[in-house]
């Protein structure tokens, strides 16, 4: 592979809470290639969104900070970039779409004004040119009658259309990386299919790399080449999607895949009991302990798991798993 577009190395993000400082991201490393789709998977509270915010330079002020590690984007370390530089990159070269399309648009401006605003801010186009481009973008994200809908207000659009407006806004400056944080969680499945279809086509046309955050293994299987399974702020498993789904090396990944009932090609009367992952994600105060944080929910648990944090074990096929018993899983 050529030099990666984004390279995150040993990233550690600390969050100050009432009970002290907790590493919400603890020693995370990964790479994102040109025109690649990588997915972050895990339960809520595992640090998926926090990673995205760190890349965007949008960590909660005063509470969160990058303690160590680096985020290399096109060779530039974003952890050392000035706020002005980050602002220039944000929206221009890395943009983000959020989970809730209902609240991420400003209700008092038309969607055209909001898209044009982004274009004028980052590309210095005139009012008229920006407005035209906004209409083109709405057309590109397949909003029917885009010329007419550009002066609609957000409330006049359905949830799926609003998410498309968000995508149009994110794409306004042809970013190199698009971060999608649970982009379809709030949408119906048929609308989700439309959005996925759109993202796939956009990637083909523009060569944008996509970082998708989700909890749906099915969505990962359909959209991404590689995935990163996060657990309690740490990478549990990284590798090619097909291989991980076929044979997970981390018990948590295995649990995530088999705890959800899937629709398979030919259903039979036979319904196996779902695999349970007992318990819940540990609280922030337990983050950073020198042990396997998944141990309390794991049936492979041994003394070793409780006494030291497992290293990232690489396998020949490119899978990397942080488990003392990865070979046995």
């Amino acid at each position: 592979m050529t030099t990666p577009l984004l390279k995150v190395e040993n990233l550690r993000i600390e969050l100050t809470t009432r009970d002290g400082v907790a590493p919400v991201i603890d020693d995370l490393s990964f790479e994102l290639g040109q025109n690649e789709n990588i997915s972050f998977v895990g339960e809520s509270g595992c640090g998926k969104s926090m990673t995205a915010l760190a890349i965007m330079g949008l960590l909660p002020e005063k509470i969160g900070r990058i303690a160590s590690g680096s985020i290399l984007f096109d060779g530039e370390d974003l952890t050392k970039a000035s706020p002005a530089r980050l602002r220039a990159i944000r929206g221009n070269e890395i943009s983000m779409i959020f989970q809730e399309p209902m609240t991420s648009l400003n209700p008092v401006y038309t969607v055209g004004e909001q898209i044009a605003e982004v274009i004028r801010e980052h590309q210095g186009l005139g009012r008229k040119a920006a407005w035209d481009m906004a209409a083109d973008l709405l057309d590109a994200v397949r909003i029917p009658n885009a010329r007419g809908r550009v002066s609609d207000y957000p409330f006049q659009m359905s949830g799926g259309q609003r998410q498309r407006v968000m995508i149009a806004m994110a794409l306004a400056c042809q970013p190199k990386i698009l971060i999608a944080d649970e982009p379809t969680t709030a949408l119906d499945v048929t609308v989700q299919a439309q959005i996925f279809d759109l993202l796939r086509d956009l990637r083909k046309d523009t060569g944008t790399s996509i970082i998708m955050i989700t909890h749906d293994m099915g969505a990962v299987a359909e959209m991404a080449e590689r995935m990163i399974v996060m657990y309690a702020g740490r990478g549990a498993e990284i590798g090619p999607v097909e291989q991980i789904i076929e044979h997970a090396r981390h018990p948590y990944t295995k649990g995530l895949t088999s705890c959800v009932p899937h629709i398979v090609s030919q259903l039979t009367e036979d319904r196996a009991r779902l695999t349970e992952v007992p318990g819940i994600v540990p609280g922030l105060k337990d983050f950073g302990k020198n042990m396997c944080l998944f141990a309390s929910r794991c049936n492979h648990r041994t003394e070793e798991c409780l006494s030291a944090r497992p290293p990232m074990k690489p396998f020949e096929n490119g899978q990397i798993a942080a488990c003392w018993h990865a070979e046995d899983v």
């Binding site: 809470t17 009432r18 141990a295 309390s296 794991c298 049936n299 492979h300 648990r301 041994t302 003394e303 409780l306 018993h325 046995d328």
Partner: protein, 294 residues
């Protein structure tokens, strides 16, 4: 693997009541805690003060306009030679009682009307809210003066007058909370469990609507004390009791000659109302679930 996984100690959460958690949050607000201490001292003083300092506040004990500290009178004497210390102590009782009682009256009216309007909706809500608006646009001081002037300046009547003019805010808050909470699933769940309307209103919804009502009530005790002071200042007061407002009202002509006769009771009102406000602020922090972590 056949090996039995080593056990993990399970943490069992302690059963803590929301009350103890609220206290936990309240304690974080240092100003509120200090204010609570001050308020506590004022209340204790009002209760046991008259026994520790049994001077009759209506009795002429010394020459008029003796300044504070003179002749063993800590706060001096007023224009009739009455002991100001005794008046402040006895006045505290009256002021606090009026404040509390007026707040209770207005909460009773406000919660009842707000709860009925928010729970039953429809035509009843329309009628009740129009009534609320009617009371809201009345000039409060004038209206309470009219009541007191018509029915006599006795303590219960003054209390009632203050309560009647200040319940509208409570009604609006209660209604808003009821409108929000009645749509929540646990209310639906209670309905599915066959809970009767009255119980639904006062046992299920009201306890959850209480936090903003409690905060509002705390502030109302303060404003009722001020209101009473205002009425007393205008002479609309029960002449048989001492209250802080009444001390100010009766001494107001001598404000230039003996300013302490006005400033001391004024200070008492100021400190009390400020303490109540700060405690209300602390209650807001303690009872607002949004500020609570988790």
């Amino acid at each position: 693997m056949s090996q039995q996984p080593p056990p993990i100690e399970e943490q069992i959460e302690q059963a803590r009541s929301p009350l103890s958690e609220a206290w936990e949050m309240f304690r974080r607000n240092h100003a509120a805690v200090a204010a609570l201490v001050v308020l506590g001292l004022i209340v204790i003083g009002a209760i046991i003060g008259p026994f520790l300092y049994p001077t009759d506040p209506f009795e002429m004990v010394w020459a008029p306009f003796s300044p504070p500290g003179a002749e063993g009178f800590l706060l001096g004497t007023d224009y009739l030679g009455r002991d100001l210390m005794a008046m402040i102590i006895n006045g505290a009782r009256v002021s606090l009682i009026i404040g509390l009682a007026a707040a209770v009256v207005s909460i009773f009216i406000g919660v009842t009307i707000g709860a009925l309007a928010g729970f039953y909706r429809g035509i009843l809500e329309e009628i009740l809210m129009r009534i609320t608006e009617f009371f809201q646009v009345l000039p409060t001081l004038l209206f309470s003066m009219v009541i007191v002037a018509l029915f006599g300046a006795s303590l219960p009547m003054i209390t009632l007058a203050i309560g009647i003019v200040s319940w509208t805010a409570v009604a609006r808050i209660t209604r808003a909370e009821f409108l929000r909470i009645r749509e929540l699933e646990y209310v639906m769940a209670s309905r599915a469990s066959g809970v009767q309307n009255m119980k639904l209103m006062f046992r299920v919804i009201l306890p959850n609507a209480l936090p903003p009502i409690i905060v509002q009530s705390a502030l109302m005790v303060g404003s009722a004390i001020l209101f009473e002071a205002g009425l007393s200042f205008l002479g609309l007061t029960d002449p048989n009791v001492v209250s802080w407002g009444q001390i100010i009202g009766s001494n107001r002509q001598y404000i230039l000659d003996a300013s302490y006769t006005v400033t001391i009771p004024g200070l008492a009102i100021f400190v009390t109302v400020l303490a109540i406000s700060l405690v209300g602020d602390g209650l807001n922090d303690a009872l607002n679930p949004k500020l609570r972590s988790r």
